[in-house]
Amino acid sequence: MTILLKETVQTIAQSIGINNLPEEVAEALAPDVEYRMREIMQGAIKCMLHSKRTTLTTEDVNSALQLHNIEPLYGFASGGPLQFKRAVGQSDLFYVDDAEIDFKELMDAPLPKAPLDTAVVIHWLAIEGVQPAIPENVPLEAFTPSVELKKIDTLLSKKKDDEFGVEVKLPVKHVLSQELQVYFEKITGLIISRANPSLIKAALDSLATDSGLHPLVPYFTQFIADEVVRNLDDIDLLFSLMRVVRSLLINPHIHIDPYLHQLMPSVITCLVAKRLGRKSAENSAPGRKFIDNHWDLRDYVANLISFICRRFGRVYHNLQPRITKTLLQAFLDPKRAMTQHYGAIKGLAALGPRVVGLTVLPNVETFLKHLAPDLSMEAQRSEMKRNEAMRVYGTLLTAIGVCMTSRLKYFPVFFLPRTWNPGGQGKIVTARRTVVSNSLSDSCTVSQLTNTSPRKTTTSADAQDSQPMEIECIGHSYHSSMSTIELPSQDVKSDAKIVVDVSGMDHSQHQSQDMARSREQVEPSDSDKAIFPLSDSWKEDVTLGPLFSSLIDLFGEALLPFVPRTELNIFL
């Protein structure tokens, strides 16, 4: 009935030395105690209001006690909340867990940092009724008047204009002050005209730090979108634009969230566009390099995208999945140009090793197969194309390597090089390119061989095994909490199919190698276990050993720098 039970009263009575408080007395006291407590709390609220605060403090309660001529509670206030503990053997008795503090300890402890002293600062809240956009004021559009207020306003305007008028919603006016217009023109002019770098740097600094730029954000996003589309061949301008994007993103006074969807296409374009910068033929200007260095731009943009995902990923849950999807499509499509592949891999790598593990790793073999012709001297004549392919290969290697490093960091225990076969790599020469082409051509020939040769029973069994795995793969991508990627189901299926093929090849490759080289090193059971490491690689708990070894098979020694020292000595 009352908040205070009579048992509570009895307990309190016991604590002050009245051992046998009759039940009736306790029962009569309980409501009165509650009433007094409420009285004191109301006094405390009054004190709080007079202190112009909205949170009740213990000092308020003490003041209220003093108001009622009751002795206040003495003692030291503890910083944290009180810890109540249940008394042993009692179901409803609690006590404050008061830790004993050693006095010496307290004395010896270093003095806590002194709190900052109170200070007064002045700023203009409004100048002739208009709030200046300075950091001390609330950002302009962040503040929305309460619904109630709006109602009153509309009511008033109705009253004013016409007693029975219909409520007319006026189109939202977006007034840009003269200063802002000039500012916008100056900045855009600077960027387009490619003035000297120090000026542009100053402009970017201003964009990154100044408050009150918020009204310009839609104009800037539009400007960036337009210019990116118009000037895909101008690498310097694109670079400047991306720097503008970065500045806008890091400005703490701008709420860029609503405009993010307009910015993202331009940014992604700069990452995975087929051609950025001028064609080499047009580059006749002396002093210029062979080709515009669009690789740097792609690197920069990849970092920018990872920054965006980190900053806004929490607010927009589908932001990163969507970016990943776009990039993955570019990565998986064999028809895309090398530059696009480069951008896609770079972008995925920038999103972190986990994303790489989920997207790139399962498809790496297919991709390498596709890449192989461009890498080899014989198949690809054009020096430039080969150069591009090498870059793609390099970035892929880095991405996979970083991914592996992070995995090794988390699962060092699983790392056991089961199918590591030093003999297999015996003929690798020191020059990397030849190594790669060798191993690749090697694997290609092997796979051709295995394709023609009749399969063994184990492989067919494994192929059957792979069927349920494919389904699991689809299911997993939807259910697992860690996988942020949503692949369209067709994609998954096709991936899985590819993977099945690949793994089949992989397996046969192992076997052929095994047959060719030392049989005693690798037991057949081991090779059975290590059949499909890559297709499984998106799983977190996958055994790293076989996975790693197959990667080594693919990439050769180049992957070794990514292996931490302790793990590395296993190879030696």
């Binding site: 007079h50 002293d117 600062v121 409004a126 002739e128 009724g129 004021n137 609330v138 009153i152």
Partner: protein, 609 residues
């Protein structure tokens, strides 16, 4: 069957009342006449049954009340809000009846069941009453006692009244009828039912409401102070204008000279507009707005200013920026940083050069914007400080409880204080004892404010009223009711005619001192209003609140005489501008003599958990 019930009811009644002999006699009688000997009238039987039910079952309160509530809520919209007005008092009295009869548990559950209906309007009262669990508490608590001892007046139109009576009779809810009869004074007003906004039910006052109208008829001289600086400034300006007129008289001809004495102002106004100097037209308009205000001589001896300070003040007046609904003021904000939630109050000097903060550890800190000094004060006393000396000059003791507010009079060496001991006191600086004690509020006096002509002080209290007192006699001159919570701040318009008051719920009321009527409520703030100030010519009102905003309201626009249409048209003060601050509740606002608005508050960023 029925007879058995009746017999039991009668027996129970006799037992309860302690009529031993009657009980015995009744039992004897009962035994003698074995069965259907007494043929009772069905009407009487029903009455007896109902009586027994009513008296013994506390649940009947709940039942009857919820029936009434349902009926009111399902009644026609036209009459609904009038009928709604009686629900709250009925609810309170049902609850208190239950408590008085000792049904603690039932009272509590009744309260919990229905309190949601009233929480938006009467939260504080409900919080107070919730704890009441025994009849002792009812006696002890001010609010409950005054509620039980006095009738609440509820106005309703004839038709609503008839509806209510009909309902109460038809449904045999004599219980509710009893409550209404006992505690509510139904006032039947002729004509159509009044609208929503016109008067929602005011606070349930302890004092019978008839007193209010009586008090409010007393005559008040609300004009500006005679011979004040403003007065002088006006004269001086008039002199200047005359000169200007004299210069231009050749062109204007001789008639101008004739009229110059009285109608000079209008002419000059025109002339200034032609000449186009902003400063001049500004001055003339300020003078013209105040010219219609009567002058009142102060009954208190006034201090005499030095020549120099007077000149400076006049200078300020001359350079005052003119504010109106189209010309909003500039606001300079003083933010206290790192206060750790310990700033209790803040004040800014009129020229904005000094700002003082009062802290929870009883220290005062004065910032001269360059150097800072510290001072201390204590509980339940008022101290006078000398800022140049940073020394405490006098300690005025007199209040028995904490002092909530102190204000200096606009002119002279008087000040007023408001305290938890339910009094306001007027002091003179040279005496250690108060000159007048204003007694009358039912609860703490939370804020105090001087009238511009120094003859009156206004006090706002936790009993949700604002009172105006005559300083000379100590008499209560006006009683303003309408707030729904504790009155937290007051402000007087510079012409002395209007007063604004803000409360803890965020409402601001504007009152006409002459008539004692509320002019318009200002809704908009979502947190307690901590501070209010009128601009120097009285055209704007600035309010600062716990909801981290400064709002600027148009006073003149809302004072315009109501259009002829209907007297109950919604008239609200127009909100001109909301200036949000960055997590800084506004503690203090002040218009400078030149109409620059100063605001102060403590930056209190939300803690991340």
């Amino acid at each position: 069957m029925e007879e058995e019930q009746i017999k039991n009811a009668v027996l129970a009644y006799l037992q309860k009342k302690g009529y031993r002999q009657a009980e015995l006699a009744f039992q004897e009688e009962d035994l003698k006449s074995t069965s259907s000997s007494f043929k009772t009238d069905t009407d009487i039987a029903n009455q007896i049954l109902r009586y027994s039910k009513l008296d013994n079952v506390p649940a009947s309160y709940k039942e009857a009340y919820s029936k009434l509530r349902n009926w009111v809520h399902s009644s026609l919209d036209l009459y609904k809000h009038e009928l709604l007005r009686i629900l709250y008092p009925v609810f309170l009295h049902c609850f208190m009846d239950l408590v008085a009869k000792g049904f603690q548990q039932e009272a509590r559950s009744f309260f919990q069941n229905f309190k949601d209906d009233y929480e938006t309007l009467h939260l504080r009262d409900l919080q107070k009453l919730e704890g009441v669990l025994s009849s002792d508490h009812l006696q002890e608590m001010e609010l409950a006692r005054s509620l039980r001892e006095n009738k609440v007046t509820v106005k309703m139109c004839q038709f609503s009244f008839d509806l209510l009576l009909q309902y109460l009779h038809n449904t045999d809810s004599s219980l509710m009828l009893g409550v209404v009869n006992e505690h509510i004074n139904l006032q039947v007003t002729p004509g159509q039912p009044t609208s929503w906004s016109d008067d929602d039910m005011g606070p349930l006052l302890g004092k019978p409401q008839e007193g209010v109208s009586e008090v409010n008829t007393k005559e008040i001289k609300w004009g500006m102070l005679e011979d004040s600086l403003e007065d002088k400034a006006e004269k001086e300006l008039a002199g200047e204008a005359e000169k200007a007129e004299a210069e231009g008289k050749e062109a204007e001809g001789d008639e101008a000279r004739k009229k110059m004495g009285e109608a000079g102002k209008a002419k000059k106004l025109k002339k200034d507009k032609v000449s186009g100097t902003a400063g001049k037209s500004l001055k003339t308009e300020t003078t013209s707005t105040n010219s219609g205000v009567p002058r009142v001589k102060s009954e208190l001896p006034m201090a005499i200013f030095s020549e120099e300070s007077e000149r400076r003040a006049l200078d300020d007046l001359r350079n005052r920026a003119r504010l109106s609904s189209s010309a909003l003021p500039s606001v300079s904000f003083y933010t206290f940083l790192n206060t750790h939630n310990s700033l209790n109050c803040a004040s800014i000097s009129t020229d904005g050069a000094m700002v003082v903060g009062g802290f929870a550890d009883s220290s005062l800190k004065v910032w001269d914007m360059t150097k800072s000094t510290e001072q201390h004060s204590s509980f339940s006393s008022v101290r006078l400080w000398n800022i140049p000396l940073t020394a405490n000059l006098v300690c005025y003791k007199g209040h028995n409880y904490p002092v909530w507010d102190v204000q200096f009079s606009p002119v002279g060496h008087y000040f007023a204080s408001a305290s938890h001991d339910r009094t306001a006191r007027v002091w003179s600086m040279d005496r250690a004892q108060p000159l007048r004690i204003m007694v009358g509020h039912f609860s703490d006096v939370d804020c105090v404010q001087w009238h511009v002509n120094c003859n009156y002080i206004a006090t706002g209290s936790s009993d949700k009223t604002v009172r105006l007192w005559d300083v000379a006699t100590g008499e209560c001159m006006r009683l303003f009711t309408g707030h729904r919570g504790m009155v937290t701040c007051l402000s007087m318009s510079p012409d002395g005619r209007y007063m604004a008051s803000g409360d803890e719920d965020g409402a601001i009321m504007l009152w006409d001192l002459g008539s004692g009527q509320s002019i318009s409520p200002l809704m908009g703030h979502t947190g307690s209003v901590w501070t209010l100030d009128f601009s120097c010519e009285g055209s704007l009102l600035a309010s600062g609140s716990a909801d981290n905003s400064v709002r600027i309201w148009d006073v003149i626009g809302s004072l315009k005489p109501p259009r002829i249409e209907e007297k109950n048209a919604i008239r609200r003060l127009r909100l001109l501008k909301t200036l949000p601050t960055k997590a800084t509740p506004v503690y203090s606002l002040r218009f400078s003599k030149r109409n620059l608005l100063f605001a102060a508050g403590a930056f209190n960023p939300a803690k991340k958990l």
